[in-house]
């Protein structure tokens, strides 16, 4: 754990020394909410027959999930470039658990995701989404984002442990990225989907983090997801399982690179 924290701290130090990246982390979610959100709420809000503010609350959790995906992919690139540059060798000859190297990287990714999620909550609220005032709801929401971030960080780190160039990595990640976003309830309510897509969405952890966020962080986001929402307990279980599976996958792939 000490080693994981050291690696995490090193990443955060580098982030601080790189104001461009920090600004990017800040600006990117704002742009998503403002540009994508405003455009969509006009179009879809009316189509669904709901108020624009309500659609905002419906959609912001989806943007959070999407941004967490982006953070994981970027974190995978950090790991891949550390591997290709050989910086990973410094960790590998140190007396630290192999898993802690991955955990340190995942912690960096999760930190960035949670930071971005907070920004999106705030911007979303400013754009008219009604935010819950219950601090426990916020805390629960951030826990869900962290778990989801860790799970996808695991997938990204597994991909980055296996590929040997940035292009191959992006191709691999792209295959996960799109279905995880679109085959979910992030952009449209579950009940509006055709049967096969609904099944896909129910198998997708993104649906659970998005639904959980709607229930806990936004006043009326959940109602808009249709009459039936996923149970909150189930959301936490699925996201936790996703986090464990993702990190497990990363560990398995990473172990092989040592042989």
């Amino acid at each position: 754990m000490r080693a994981a924290i050291t690696i995490w701290h090193k990443h955060m130090t580098k982030l601080r020394l790189h104001p461009e990246e920090a600004v990017g982390l800040l600006i990117q979610p704002i742009m998503w909410v403002v540009l994508f959100g405003v455009g969509m709420r006009g179009l879809i809000g009316q189509g669904m027959g709901i108020e624009e503010e309500a659609y905002m609350a419906f959609m912001v959790p989806g943007i959070i999930a999407l941004t967490a995906l982006g953070a994981a992919i970027a974190g995978g690139v950090v790991w891949l470039s550390e591997r290709l540059q050989g910086i990973v060798k410094e960790y590998l000859v140190a007396p630290i658990a192999r898993l802690s190297i991955l955990v340190g990287n995942a912690m960096s990714i999760v930190t960035k995701s949670v930071f971005q999620a907070v920004i999106i909550f705030i911007v979303g609220a400013l754009m008219g989404a009604q935010v819950s005032l219950n601090p426990l709801g916020w805390l629960g929401g951030l826990v869900l984002v962290a778990g989801y971030g860790a799970g996808f960080a695991g997938i990204a780190l597994a991909g980055a442990s296996k590929s040997n160039d940035i292009g191959a990595y992006h191709m691999l990640i792209f295959l996960f990225n799109l279905p995880l976003l679109f085959l979910s309830n992030a952009l449209y309510p579950l009940e509006m989907l055709p049967r096969w897509m609904e099944i896909g969405a129910r198998l997708n952890p993104t649906s659970y983090v998005v639904d959980g966020l709607r229930q806990m962080v936004f006043e009326n986001g959940a109602e808009l997801a249709g009459g039936e929402t996923l149970s909150l307990g189930l959301c936490f279980v699925v996201v936790a399982a996703f986090a464990v599976l993702g990190m497990g996958a990363a560990y398995m792939v990473f172990r092989k690179t040592v042989q």
Partner: protein
């Protein structure tokens, strides 16, 4: 596989001396039948046995692709051997990797630095990775920055460092956790001659001050000759000969005559082999090399014999033998500096 030749020198450092001196303490590195196969066609290390006694500087000398880096990678627990075993400080590199890792310092062939960080930060994060307490880190950083003369640059980003400065910082990082065994993989690769010399000066001081054991790889024969107490010449994944640089060079005769020429070399080589003053004859790809008792005295004789045998000499030179000549003798190829 053929057993590597062990050479004992009559003068100075001998293998027996070293072994006797260290009988009480165990050898630092012991490798037995070490093999690394990357794929069906790529056999990087092909059965290496080495025993490295404590407190000496050992050089693995060989051309690029000989298996030097793979050897270091296995001994430093970066990769697992395909077969055979190795122990560092008595600990198996696979089963007790963590114990090995606690006791070693490594610098890699490539420059591996977080360029965004300052020199001081690089050393500090490294110490933290090993769980060094803060006070210890601070003291160690001050000491090492002084050793590698980077005090003035310590708070600048590494990206602004020259190649030589980066190497020095890496050396300091390798020493940060007070290793008992230091591995340096091609420590002077890509450095200009001036920086090469200064890196070796630091290493020389280290050895005197700390008495640590050191294994380095190089393809510069002068470095091995000057810095190492023992040299293992490695080619195609095998140690072809091992000994003190002095003993290795001494067996080549007093002087070396190097002949480049054209024509039927076979008859000429046979003639040379029959001569009493010729101690060794090595025929390389384009060069014939003789170890003789006295180069300047025998030069004329050799030229006359070449004429008799119908061999045209393009170039002939006399030199003191070097490890390069030893390499040629055991591999039939020249070890080039480039």
């Amino acid at each position: 596989m053929p057993a590597p030749t062990l050479l004992y020198s009559s003068a100075g450092f001998s293998y027996d001396d070293i072994m006797n001196e260290n009988n009480h303490s165990e050898s630092v590195i012991i490798a037995e039948g070490l093999v690394k196969r990357y794929s069906k066609d790529v056999l990087a290390v092909d059965g290496v046995d080495i025993v490295i006694p404590a407190n000496i500087v050992y050089a693995l000398l060989g051309p690029n692709g000989a298996g030097k880096t793979t050897m270091i990678s296995m001994l430093t627990t970066l990769i697992e051997p395909t077969a055979g075993s190795a122990r560092v400080k008595g600990f198996d590199v696979v089963r007790r990797a963590d114990e090995v890792r606690k006791r070693i310092g490594v610098t890699f062939q490539e420059m591996i630095l977080d360029e965004e960080l300052t020199g001081r930060q690089v050393l500090d994060f490294h110490g933290r990775l090993y769980g060094q307490p803060k006070a210890k880190r601070r003291a160690k950083i001050a000491e090492l920055l002084a050793l590698v003369e980077l005090e003035d640059a310590a708070d600048r980003r590494c990206a602004t460092y020259s190649g030589g400065m980066k190497r020095r910082l890496e050396l300091a990082r390798g020493l940060m956790t007070e290793p008992e065994v230091l591995f340096l993989d091609e420590p002077t690769l890509g450095l200009d001659p001036q920086n090469r010399v200064s890196i070796w000066e630091y290493v020389r001081n280290l050895k005197a001050d700390l008495g640590l054991s050191l294994l380095f790889t190089t393809h510069y024969m002068e470095e091995a000759e000057q810095m190492a107490d023992r040299v293992g010449i490695i080619d195609h994944g095998r140690i072809v000969v091992e000994g003190s640089p002095r003993a290795l060079v001494d067996q080549m005769g007093e002087d070396t005559i190097r002949i480049l020429g054209r024509g039927d070399s076979r008859a000429f080589v046979e003639t040379l082999q029959a001569l009493p003053f010729v101690e060794t004859v090595v025929e390389g790809e384009s060069v014939i090399q003789l170890g003789v008792d006295s180069g300047s005295k025998r030069l004329a004789e050799v030229v006359t014999l070449a004429n008799t045998d119908g061999f045209t000499i393009d170039d002939i030179s006399v030199a003191k033998p070097s490890l390069g000549d030893v390499f040629l003798k055991y591999t039939g190829r020249q070890l080039r500096d480039k």
